[in-house]
């Protein structure tokens, strides 16, 4: 069953028509083993949103040819998954022609955070600088890595 309704998809198509450059989304998840161990608690995976993350990203990306999606399975390609997402899954890694740093969303972008996902796609594909030149000049003076962590809830 689709996570996005017809109205959602229509809205996304209209919004994404303004994308000026390609945007990439790399979805890093871990495919569940089909092997069920005796005594394993099926409830262990109750919080795993990997399937929904993959589905929502695919449905959003289907609304524009500018959005390119790659799926990486940590069970099959652990090194690449680790390089992209570190120790946490599921992850969505954003990319764009003009994007310089690293942008990652961990977990399911539901509720209010769905709008963050859409807004970030629009920012990445806008072809415009996100900060004014004087701020860009200040940021260019950074010599050491800066790690910003934002904790959110679906809300």
């Amino acid at each position: 069953m689709a996570l996005l309704g017809d109205e959602d998809t229509k809205y996304l198509r209209e919004s994404f028509a303004e994308l000026r450059s390609d945007v990439t989304l790399t979805v890093v998840t871990r495919e569940k083993s089909r092997l069920v161990l005796p005594g394993a608690d099926a409830g262990d995976d109750a919080e795993d949103t990997s399937g929904e993350v993959k589905q929502i990203v695919d449905e959003v990306a289907a609304a524009s040819e500018r959005i390119k999606v790659t799926h990486v399975d940590a069970a099959a390609d652990a090194d690449r998954a680790s390089t992209l997402a570190g120790a946490h899954l599921p992850a969505i890694v954003f990319g764009g022609a003009q994007s310089k740093g690293t942008l990652r969303y961990f977990g399911l972008p539901a509720g209010y955070e769905m709008s963050t996902l859409i807004a970030t796609l629009m920012d990445l594909g806008s072809g415009e600088a996100m900060v004014p030149p004087e701020v860009s000049a200040e940021l260019d003076k950074l010599t050491a890595p800066v790690h910003i962590q934002v904790f959110v809830t679906p809300g």
């Binding site: 764009g96 942008l103 399911l108 970030t120 860009s136 934002v150």
Partner: protein, 71 residues
Amino acid sequence: MARAAFQLAMSSDKITSDVFEAQEFPELAQRYQVRGVPMTLVNEGAPIMGNVGGAKLLHAVLATATPSSGT
């Protein structure tokens, strides 16, 4: 705050912005003592609570580049 963090990361190759859905990563939420959201950390420094806007986040980022601010 998530969008502001992403916009800064788009603007500098030195910046990594990670947004976590706190309920899905309880061990991280516990480690950083997340009491409310949004909560933002810059290089694991003092938490910035709430939607304070991009300007304050930028200030916190630029402050990391000022060695004299720490001891």
